[in-house]
Symmetry: C2
Subunit: 399 residues, 2 copies
């Protein structure tokens, strides 16, 4: 393992709030960037008001802002703008998720900032993007799940459209912003200049529907809500055991044959005309599901079913809830997906591990999220401000 | 706009199949990398067998493999391995999604490849990751949605766990792999060496649950399926109008006050002790939802509700299905999320646009997916093979 971190040469100014932008900043910070979170004096990121709380501090905020240093800055004051411009001179990336136009009005839009530092990469994430006819509309995750189509394809046939139970539009948007920033950093090695990176939550959700648009293009039928079944493969669904549900993913004919022979002990199903190829199995999935549940699944527990199916070499798994995940030794111990960190106010808390694993430049959590304005003096001093100057600026509400 | 592409100096060997790996390769290709897709002679990527089809070619494959050149290669043959090693010498990234161990058995694992090219970045995505006690288990998207916890938090309270209606675990895994590769490329500018990038679908889904683990850590209660509500913010849900559903996302007290004053015309709800702060609104969401539906939503159509709420500056939107999205002028025209491409067999088809927008180094679709082995001669000739040598290799089934 190297002593280097992948992004150790990169400094990010993170003006973002709530999830999508902070997720992006946290990912870049985990990869080794020096991320300076800039918050409103006195109030900070909206997410500081979101539970769960530990000793009066938001652990929601804590997870999304680990590995960041934190300052407060009033960007509406002239002195605040001046400090920000000084930081831009020494930084690589400005990250913001204001409504499009807000930074321009402050005189801090990309066109201004690139005159200060032509190498600056200006990265914005918003509900609808920084251009386009809806760009001024406010957008939260739920709007992107609704207008990006994910709700229309999620849920059981009898129910209405269903929201994914995490802020997946924000997560996808934050990840796309990371990708755009890292691509712009690589481009800068060639061009010598920064550029704008623009990501919208809606576009991010639209892209996550993968082949749904191609299916519509060919069939002219809108994809339906199919519960836990999949339009392209069967058996590939949830199944009821004696004590709960589990899932099977039989991706091809070979796996299906192994399943009929070794689990169902019904080799005749391999050539049964209802099920003799993937397309027919998809068409007759409900019949196949009933056979699997009646002849096999309901006679055993989830754990027995999964063990038997895995032993036959076929993909299967339990349906975990959050506590199962946090206790699973593969996820918790081997993959280190939950990391203890010591926070100055919250004490020992558990944050999500990073899903990107690099063998040489370690990805990980080095320090906890900042309390509001925790690094004001450290960072303002580094810009050359004296104690007296800082006292005067503080008095004026600049930070 | 520059004539450069962000990743124009990067060559990728893409050995992956189906979704997660190909999604990663397509993203890198859209960003300008030279991606060479390597497939099994005669058969190719499993996804060539997935519908929808146009003129006998898979459009499912077409979407995930645009901007890639394609060759066939039998990696079990000595000659195939030799060709692959020659390509590794001239490439930056090897991308694979075999079950962990397969490449090592072929003699083509990272430890071998780095002796050929110490700068090579070896990127793998699999169900459970290349290390850890479950690493040899087969994993498909549905297994990651089940064991990664997303199914447990998605769905309506009366239903069981619910699968997200797209292969979101694959998409998240592919995106995390892109992030890891781009970070490793940046690290290489400092260290001069490549490294391994390892991503699992399960870890990717686990991380996408954002604050669910922190809520469990504090409450010791597993997050429940909440339909379209959100555990952290209210009002933030779907609401029934006279002709369907729409969504509202009121992310802070200011928006909530605007909503009470200008939409509900019930300013008393701002200070009502049930709803006077976000935490109380979350706790009493069902009561608040009933008030919103009875006093406002059900008296208007979806379109009227959304227009009125947006006019008051509050985030809201309709719930789109796939055809709505493909016809929406913001998504389709302004954001260019559906791109026509002319494929040699399929003709004019529509592929998903890229959600990452860069202002200087254009991201986009330059050419369609390869037919099986389309670029064999072009690429093998570039390695120095003569027509006679290629005829002999072809005869032996090497490609």
């Amino acid at each position: 393992m190297s002593e280097h971190l992948a992004l150790e040469n990169i400094r990010i100014l993170d003006l973002t709030r709530v999830i999508a932008g902070p997720y992006c900043g946290a990912m870049l910070a985990d990869l080794g960037a020096d991320v300076i979170k800039i918050e409103l004096p006195g109030r900070g990121d909206d997410a500081r008001a979101y539970g769960p709380y530990v000793n009066g501090e938001s652990l929601y905020y804590g997870n999304l802002n680990r590995n960041k240093r934190g300052i407060t800055l009033n960007l509406k004051s002239e002195e605040g703008k001046e400090i920000f411009r000084k930081l831009v001179k020494e930084s690589d990336v400005v990250l913001e998720n204001y409504r499009p136009g807000v930074m321009d009005k402050l005189g801090l839009g990309y066109d201004e900032l690139k005159t200060i530092n032509p190498r600056i990469i200006y990265a914005a994430v918003s509900g609808f993007g920084s251009y386009g006819r809806y760009s001024k509309r406010p957008g939260y995750d739920i709007i992107s799940q609704a207008m990006g189509g994910l709700m229309s394809v999620t849920g059981h046939p009898g129910n209405g459209p269903t929201r994914v139970g995490s802020a997946i539009g924000d997560v996808l948007g934050g990840m796309n912003l990371v990708i755009g920033i890292l691509a712009a950093i690589e481009a800068r090695h060639t061009t010598g200049e920064g550029q704008r990176v623009d990501v919208s939550l809606i576009d991010s959700v639209v892209a996550s529907l993968e082949n749904a648009y191609q299916r519509y293009e060919v069939s002219h039928e809108n994809p339906k809500r199919m519960g836990n079944a999949y339009a392209s493969i069967a058996p590939y669904d949830s199944y009821e055991a004696s004590d709960g549900w589990f899932v099977i993913g039989c991706g091809n004919d070979k796996l299906y044959k192994q399943f009929c022979d070794n689990i169902l002990h019904m080799p005749e199903l391999v050539t049964d005309p209802r099920f003799d190829c993937n397309v027919n199995r998809v068409a007759n999935n409900l019949e196949l599901k009933a056979i699997i549940e009646e002849t096999f699944a309901k006679k055993h527990t989830v754990s027995e079913c999964v063990d038997m199916i895995l032993a036959a070499g076929i993909p299967a798994g339990p349906i975990y809830n959050v506590s199962d995940i946090m206790e699973d030794p593969h996820i918790r111990d081997d993959r280190e997906m939950f990391v203890h960190v010591d926070h100055p106010v919250m004490g020992d808390v558990i944050l999500n591990g990073n899903p990107v694993k690099l063998s040489d430049t370690k990805v990980g959590i080095r320090f906890p999220s900042p309390t509001l304005g925790q690094h004001n003096e450290e960072i303002f001093h580094s810009l050359g401000y004296s104690d007296e100057e800082l006292a005067a600026l503080k008095e004026k509400g600049v930070f």
